[in-house]
């Protein structure tokens, strides 16, 4: 059917390859940073969810419930468009007009909105993964560490955490791939420097939709494959018995 309606011009797409690879670098950058933030926050959320102090539990539960049960697109869109609107509305109730005062602190640039949004999402998912991982480490490990003279923090940091990471490493790799693919949501909040943003702009400029999208899909695929392959290597070095 496409043969009747459309002639593919692949050379035009391949000429844009350097630009697209530059975009892929931004994509990877956002994914890696969001993953690092997600891991740190995820561990904290997993601990908070098991905490004895109730408000901590509520906080962690709210975060995890929103992150896991609403679309990632919604989360990123809310961070970019929603929060400034709500804050402006709230401020105007007190008769304050931030914009007239020249204060723009609530406005995250597109790049940061995507990064924060995906980190938020990652942290929510990873928290549940980590909670499962923590359950997989027998409590006798902590008791053994404590009886050998480790304090509470050290026994968690040096004995429990490494074992937990071993248990959850593969689900974490999944989350990393998911984070890479999620960055494509950025085009809805004005991100035009990542792989999808650049692809969409090339598309609108030349109308060579199918070539550019196919090439972008191939690049996403290769990145995801490299990440899973790399993760397997790391796992082999770090976690073999």
């Amino acid at each position: 059917m496409f043969n009747i309606n459309y002639t593919f011009h692949w050379n035009q797409a391949f000429r844009a390859l350097p630009d697209m690879l530059e975009g892929a670098l931004i994509t990877l950058q956002i994914a890696v940073l969001s993953m690092l933030i997600g891991i740190v926050v995820g561990v904290l959320l997993a601990l908070a969810k098991e905490a004895r102090f109730a408000p901590l539990r509520w906080f962690a539960n709210t975060w995890i419930e929103i992150a896991r049960n609403t679309p990632a697109l919604f989360q990123v869109y809310m961070i970019y468009f929603g929060i400034p609107a709500v804050l402006q509305l709230a401020a105007s109730l007190f008769g304050i007009d931030f914009r007239a005062l020249g204060i723009n602190i609530f406005y995250l640039d597109s790049y940061w909105a995507v990064l924060v949004g995906i980190a938020f999402n990652n942290a929510g998912y990873l928290a549940e993964t980590f909670r499962g991982g923590l359950r997989a480490v027998p409590p006798t490990q902590t008791r053994a560490a404590r009886s050998l003279g480790f304090n509470a923090v050290d026994s968690f940091r040096l004995i429990v955490l490494p074992q937990m990471f071993r248990a959850v490493f593969h689900p974490m790799t999944n989350q990393m791939v998911w984070a890479i693919l999620m960055t494509s949501i950025g085009i809805f909040v004005g991100l035009n420097t990542d792989l999808t943003g650049i692809t969409q702009e090339l598309n609108a400029r030349t109308f060579r939709t199918f070539e550019f999208f196919a090439l972008a899909a191939a690049i996403y695929y290769v990145i995801a494959k490299i990440v899973t392959g790399g993760a397997r290597l790391i796992a082999w070095r770090l976690f073999r018995y």
Partner: protein, 271 residues
């Protein structure tokens, strides 16, 4: 026994040589009785929705006129700007009536009619930004719709300026939302859309601050590049809209305000 064989052979030869001429898109539209137009509906006054959620605007009326001349029923296929070509190639729509700028880059992919409308671009900003003209945009946070004529022109200038940022969004509505909230300080947008947005009263503090020094943005009807029959028809249609005064009439209806309908010809040249 021989006769049927000869007859069969004759019929076969006839069948091979008398292959019917393939019906083209224009035939298909007339035969199907329906004209499906890809129209962008977040781009007032060219395309938008009324209080009953019905499509309205210059482009919608143009599609209705085109269908009337063809003697078929119009069907509006809502199509965001970036989806115009996929809509045509995948066969979801027959013709694009969606204010498509006729760039040479795009003409490599899609077929353009002669212009059926033309835009001038203006600077749209908020009162509090202190922007007074196009020159003031240097160093500011700017945004536009991904890949449209004015976005390409603005980004070229932006690249020669220092500081600031340039962001692209997937729809005109998101650009206005970002401008309203302050993620961006200004955008460059077609004069008709700017006027209609300021007059809508939906956005407090939006102001138009002078024209952008871009070339006139001529927009055309689009169809698949190889559909010459249809493209020829679209050319004649665009011509007749002006000749019969319908173009002026539609301009008065949707833009109005005492402005004159833009001239669709360039002096001193053929199309």
């Amino acid at each position: 026994m021989r006769l049927p064989l000869i007859l069969a052979a004759g019929a076969l030869t006839l069948g091979l040589t008398a292959t019917p001429v393939l019906a083209d898109k224009l035939d298909d539209i007339i035969a199907s009785g329906v004209l499906r137009c890809a129209v962008t509906l977040d781009f007032p006054p060219m395309g938008s929705r009324d209080d009953n959620n019905e499509p309205i605007g210059f482009d919608v009326d143009t599609c209705n006129d085109l269908a009337a001349t063809l003697g078929v029923t119009p069907e509006i296929v809502e199509t965001p700007f970036p989806d115009r070509i996929p809509a045509l190639v995948s066969g979801r729509a027959d013709v694009g009536v969606a204010s498509t700028s006729d760039t040479l880059e795009r003409a490599k992919t899609i077929g353009f009619s002669i212009p059926y409308f033309a835009f001038n671009n203006v600077v749209l900003t908020r009162e509090d930004t202190g922007i007074e003209s196009y020159e003031d945009l240097a160093g500011k946070n700017l945004g536009s719709v991904a890949g449209v004529f004015e976005a390409i022109a603005l980004e070229e200038d932006f690249d020669t300026w220092e500081g600031g940022s340039f962001r692209t969004f997937q729809s005109q509505a998101d650009v206005f939302l970002a401008l309203n909230q302050g993620q961006i300080d200004a955008t460059v947008v077609t004069g008709t859309v700017a006027a209609s947005t300021v007059n809508s009263g939906n956005f407090d503090g939006f102001v138009i601050k002078g024209e952008a020094p871009f070339l006139v943005d001529y927009v055309s009807l689009i169809a698949l590049r190889q559909e010459y029959g249809l493209l020829n028809y679209l050319n004649l249609f665009a011509h007749q809209q002006v000749r019969t005064g319908r173009y002026e009439e539609l301009f008065e209806k949707w833009v109005g305000g005492g402005a004159e309908a833009p001239n669709l010809t360039v002096p001193g040249t053929y199309y």
